[in-house]
Symmetry: C2
Subunit: 251 residues, 2 copies
């Protein structure tokens, strides 16, 4: 009977990987995950990985198949690290793995959290998520677009700051523009926004811009987008959402 460590590696660079994540990955005899995350781990940890490591991977979009492979390997006695980009839970593999855990009662499961793009990307742009916020994925592979639209409207109605995952892909070029137009029914086109691409990895890029400009922006699937609320301001090279200390200080 083996272990299954569902492991969030953060954005990918070693500076962001927690000791807990490094321990799981370096103890594992089997790594499972998207090829791109396995490569990030190889680059970050190199010689510290075990020799004769077994790599289990499947093509994109075969997540359930990959989860099944990982569980079967752990049930057969391997120590498996399922490598997730960012966090293990947030749009990660913890959900589908735990949903099939009943079938593998002998596998020891541990979930190891990691820095998700909302947290790591916010630090690049300043402090966009200083107050209550929402995280919304614009991918309609798993969630119908009408549900995504309902959530965007709810987020705007609640004056939440918003972090957007999967803002655009080659197959869904128009999603970010549609989302911005929905938000602009409630929010000013001057609302401070920003995006970060390849967070913490070579080629990291970022940009601050208004919501109106964001509606015309071309980004890609490696980009995380931040949309301010009524309290967000540009301050020098940063976007910063007010937390309220400043108001209190004037009381």
């Amino acid at each position: 009977m083996g272990s299954l460590w569902i492991t969030g590696i953060g954005p990918g660079g070693p500076a962001y990987m927690t000791p807990q994540a490094v321990e799981a990955i370096t103890r594992a005899d089997t790594l499972c995950g998207y090829t791109v995350y396995i490569e990030l781990v190889r680059k970050a940890l190199g010689d510290r990985l075990r020799k004769n490591l077994t790599i289990l991977t499947t093509p994109m979009r075969q997540e359930l198949e990959r989860c099944r492979l990982a569980m079967e390997a752990a049930a057969a006695g391997s120590d498996v690290a399922m490598v997730c980009g960012g966090d293990a839970g947030i749009y990660g593999m913890a959900g589908p793995l735990l949903a099939m855990a009943d079938d593998y009662p002998d596998v020891q499961i541990e979930i190891i959290p990691g820095l998700t793009a909302a947290v790591a990307g916010a630090a690049v742009l300043g402090a966009p998520l200083m107050n209550d916020f929402c995280v919304i994925s614009l991918s309609d592979l798993m969630t119908p677009w009408q549900v995504i639209e309902k959530r965007l409207r709810a987020a705007a109605a609640g004056d939440f700051c918003i972090c957007i995952y999967n803002p655009m892909s080659s197959r869904r070029r128009e999603h970010l523009a549609k989302a911005c137009r929905i938000l602009m029914e409630e929010q000013s086109p001057d609302t401070p926004c920003g995006w970060v691409r390849n967070i913490g990895r070579p080629g990291q890029e970022s940009r601050l811009l208004t919501l109106g400009m964001l509606a015309m922006e071309e980004v890609d699937m490696f980009t995380t987008v931040f949309i301010g609320n009524s309290r967000t301001r540009f301050r020098g090279p940063y976007m910063v959402t007010g937390r309220g200390y400043e108001d209190k200080a004037q009381d």
Copy 2:
């Protein structure tokens, strides 16, 4: 001219602290932050901290004063780490510090993200935040209660999973119950929920319970609360929100 590293240390234990955070804190000649975070850092890093370290701290609720002290020290040439529990940005000190950065153009500022309680606590309970979610603080010290209430209603209307920070304190014993009653106007009282106390620290505790039960629960300010959405289920010892892979597999 010195540096100011606004540093998220995660929940506090060394297993959760990123190498980036450890580097900032061990390079700093001055640490600034709540006493409780400074103590966590001392326990986690001990001998790795610099000798003759200067500690700058102020009583609770004097956040702006503490930020000003940190900036002044960096402007005078110190290398200062502002130590934040969880993340540097999410309800952390990055916002008020960046808001005063204009006054200190020579200070080199870097924001170092950390594992916030939404991410670290979710990993304890299973996968409650597997899909779109909101983070809401129930503290009305900085945000008027009517804004908090508006956000709770918006989160329920959008069928978001919700992570609640500051659910209760001795001064605000009724906030969590009020929040649950607001959510139950939209959501079933059987909605799976959970809480985690002292995440990743000695004395960590957690509990799974329904939204109806949560409305009668006593928690404290060291507790983070998770409320599921319509797709969240109890599965053995976990709460898990459906991501959609399972439905897709049946298409």
